[in-house]
Each structure stands twice: as structure tokens, then as C-alpha cells.
Symmetry: C2
Subunit: 235 residues, 2 copies
DNA sequence: TTCCAAAAAAATCTCGAGATTTTCTTGACG
DNA sequence: CGTCAAGAAAATCTCGAGATTTTTTTGGAA
């Protein structure tokens, strides 16, 4: 997150807030109190009231009059909708991208994949490495950048970021260990370079859907545990 | 534009700004100076600095540090991209909508169309009637509401609003007179109620593309006029 | 114990003033 | 005549204080 000096305070705070929501440092549904954020981010209320509305526009936060801002709430239904929308749009984009992509695009994709393949998934404290998240986002963005339609690319990015919020459901990252996510990216990259349109569409669809199914399983499992923790008959 | 009393000042100003941009009362590319808007809308700078970022998130305005806000600039290329994106997404949604829509959806669609058919297109001063714009937006929204995927519906709405900005290219509304826009809506509505999936997809595609082509023609014609006005050899 | 109401605490909402930066004007120089 | 620089004007950016609303706490009654 390169916070250039030629940036307004609000712009900087917005980017930090966005990153913190996407990376799960603000729990879904939790309130974003201006007073609390003022202290945490070292900014005035005015600056925060300028940064927060942008999160609303990006679908990462909600707002209710007299009740302030909240991180978007998560639900299995919404995740399924997001996934369906992503598969629909990203497969279209990747098809265009692989069909029309230039040599420069090929190079960029290879570079992005190389970077992603070398960054470790986990950091020191068993947390997902932030550098990996950045590289992952970049890989998926570049993959679709062969398509010239900026509108659709922006929408794809927006949906992907909204979906990132759900990654924090997998608090215990066991779901990742049983999955060769690196191989999935390698397949996508290779099929794209080979200009194998059906192959890349298939690989990308599986990639997106697999993530969602693992998250939904993880969510269901935790729901059951919570029920047992609260006892068999108490609300 | 129902501005309820249980609304913050920023929310109200945001809606007014959004309507004014979409309906062409702020020219594309024009600056949105806080000082000027303060007077025009009767709000403090803080309120405006809270409302303007939401326009950025919605793709209706841009922002540059130390240079303030601007209405999005328009260009033939961007309009073509917007149109392509709209056709892609709206045809998908209308297919789902017509396939899965309930009886309630049918009723809502008929109601929306009835309303649209009765509102006059032009107001007193040869300007496009604002009530028509509202009814038109509602008709297209309801048409897609049979589809259950909220994410995609929201995206479609967002794209449609971004495209509305281009309507003001047709300053002289001659382009509308040679076109039976009411018949187009009628066809879309009928095909939808008949559950004629290919028919409604075809009608909706033509409807969207026709609007764009007329706008592009109008734009091209005006560009040439401007060149002639400035003389044949001066910049 | 449970429920309700009033008071207290905390948060949001709105506003205007001061510091910083950009933009426009003016005037001199090549 | 065109170009460039210094000064003036205007706009943005940031901040904290006061008014209003919501939330929490407290105390009492059924």
C-alpha cells in the first residue's frame, strides 16, 4: 500500500481502512465508530467522515443515519451471489483477455505469477501474509487486463475486493493447507499463455468456486461448534 | 427524489448532487467546487466533503488531491465500453429475470411500464421531463428485479446511472423524435410477460444499442459543427 | 426477578476558522 | 509579441467545538 506524500489525509486513511477491512482487521458487521478510528488512525473526525463514505460506495461498508458506519455484514447467501457474479464476469473477461491479449500482457501476467509463486502464503504468526494478498490481487487483476473494457475490469476488481472480506471466515487457515492453491494459479497462468480459452475459463471457474466452497464449509462447521458451545437447548 | 426528514444533511445533498449530475445539470468534466456548491445547495463545506466522495465511489465523479472534485468526463470510447458492459450484464439479468420471475414481479413490471407510458417525455421548456427519467429508471430496474442476485442487479443499476450522464449529449432532443421509444419499452414489457426469453433479450439489446448509436451520431455531428465554427484552419 | 422510565454517557452531525496549496493576475524581461 | 516570474486571489485541506441524537446505565415499581 504505497501511501505517496502527494496524497490528502483522507485518501491515505481511506486506503488504510480499505486494506484493513479486506484483510479482516475489521470484523464484518462491526461498527466503524468515528471516535475510535480517530484514535486508531490518528486523524480528525472530518478526515474520517470524508474517507468512510468512499467505503460505502465500494460496497465495503454500510451507513445508517444517526448510527454511523459499519463493515458490510457477511452471509452465505451473499457469498454465493458474489461468487456467481464473479464467475459470470471474470470468465467473460478472461475469455476476451486471452483472445485479445498482447505480448506485453503475457509478460505482465508471467511476472505477476512469478511474484505470487515466490511470496510465502503464511507469515510468522500463522497469519496470512499481507504480501501474498497483494500479489494474489495483482495476479487476478493482470489476468483480466488483456481485455480492453475498463468498465468491466473495474467491476471485476470491485467484486473481488468485496469477496476478500469473506476470507477471514477461515480464521484457522487449515482449509488452505489441504489445497494446492499454487498449482491452481500455475494452471491458470499456463492455459492463458497457451491461449487455451476453454482451459483457462475452466481453471478460473474452479479456482473461484473452490475458494467459496471451502469458505462455506468452514463457516458451516464453525456455526455447529458455536451451537454446541452454547449448549444443546439454550438460544 | 423523496428526501425524508430522517436523513442526514450529507445524504440529502448526495442525492441532489447525484440527480443533478445524472440529469445533466452539472456538465460532464466540469469542476465541483466546494465553495460554489456550498452556496448552491446551502450546506457547509464539511457536509459537501462528505457527500462528494460517494459520487466518486459510484463512478459519477473523480477526485484529484489539491484539485478537488469533477464530474466524470465523457468520451465516445467510454460510452462504447459502458454500452458493451450494459448489454452483457443486462441481457444476462433479464434472461434470469424472465425465467425465474414471480407473479409479483410481473405485476410490478406492468405497473412500472404503465407509469412510464403515461408520463410525457418532454416538459414545458423542451427539456426532458424529470418524471420521465425517474419512471424510465424504475422500469429498467424492475425489469431485472426478477433475478435474485442482488450483486449483479446493483452493478446493472450502477452502469445504467453512469450511462445516463451521456444523455445530455443530445442537447437538442431531435434524436428522440425520430424514434418510437415508447414502442421499444412496450415490446420489452410484452416479451417479458410472455416469457419469451430470446425475444426480450433481443428487444433489450436493441434498445440499449440504439440509444448509444443515436448519442454517438449526435456527438459526431456536433464535433463537426464545432470544427466549422472555429474555421477551417485554426486550432 | 422482570420490566419500564429517567438520567447519564457517548456517539454522531454540523459548522466555521485557520493553514496550505493551487490558480489567476499583473508586470517585467528577452 | 511571446515567455516567464512574482504577487494576489481563491480554493482546498484540516481541525476542533458545540448541538442533536442514540445508546447505556441506573433506579424504582409491579
Amino acid at each position: 500500500m504505497a501511501t505517496t506524500s502527494s496524497m490528502t489525509r483522507a485518501e491515505e486513511i481511506y486506503q488504510r481502512l480499505r486494506a484493513d477491512i479486506i484483510n479482516g482487521r475489521h470484523e464484518p458487521g462491526s461498527r466503524l465508530r468515528v471516535e475510535a478510528l480517530k484514535e486508531k488512525y490518528g486523524a480528525s473526525s472530518g478526515v474520517l467522515r470524508e474517507a468512510l463514505p468512499r467505503l460505502v460506495g465500494q460496497g465495503l461498508a454500510t451507513f445508517a443515519p444517526q448510527q454511523g458506519f459499519r463493515v458490510v455484514t457477511v452471509s452465505p447467501e451473499r457469498l454465493e451471489e458474489l461468487t456467481e457474479a464473479r464467475v459470470f464476469i471474470e470468465t467473460h473477461l478472461v475469455r476476451e483477455s486471452v483472445t485479445a491479449g498482447t505480448i506485453e500482457w503475457e509478460s505482465d501476467l508471467l511476472a505477476a505469477h512469478h511474484h505470487l509463486a515466490r511470496v510465502p502464503l503464511f507469515g510468522d504468526a500463522d497469519e496470512i501474509n499481507e504480501g501474498w494478498l497483494t500479489a494474489h490481487a495483482r495476479f487476478h487483476r493482470v489476468l483480466l487486463e488483456g481485455c480492453s473494457n475498463r468498465q468491466l475490469r473495474d467491476i471485476a476488481t470491485q467484486l473481488r475486493e468485496a469477496a476478500e472480506v469473506y476470507r477471514c471466515w477461515a480464521r484457522t487457515p487449515t482449509e488452505h493447507s489441504n489445497r494446492d492453491i499454487a498449482a491452481e494459479h500455475k494452471t491458470i497462468c499456463e492455459r492463458a499463455i497457451e491461449r487455451d480459452v476453454p482451459g483457462v475459463v475452466e481453471a478460473l471457474s474452479r479456482h473461484i468456486n473452490t475458494t467459496t466452497h471451502l469458505l462455506l464449509n468452514d463457516y458451516g462447521r464453525r456455526e455447529e461448534e458455536n451451537k454446541q458451545d452454547r449448549g444443546p437447548s439454550s438460544p
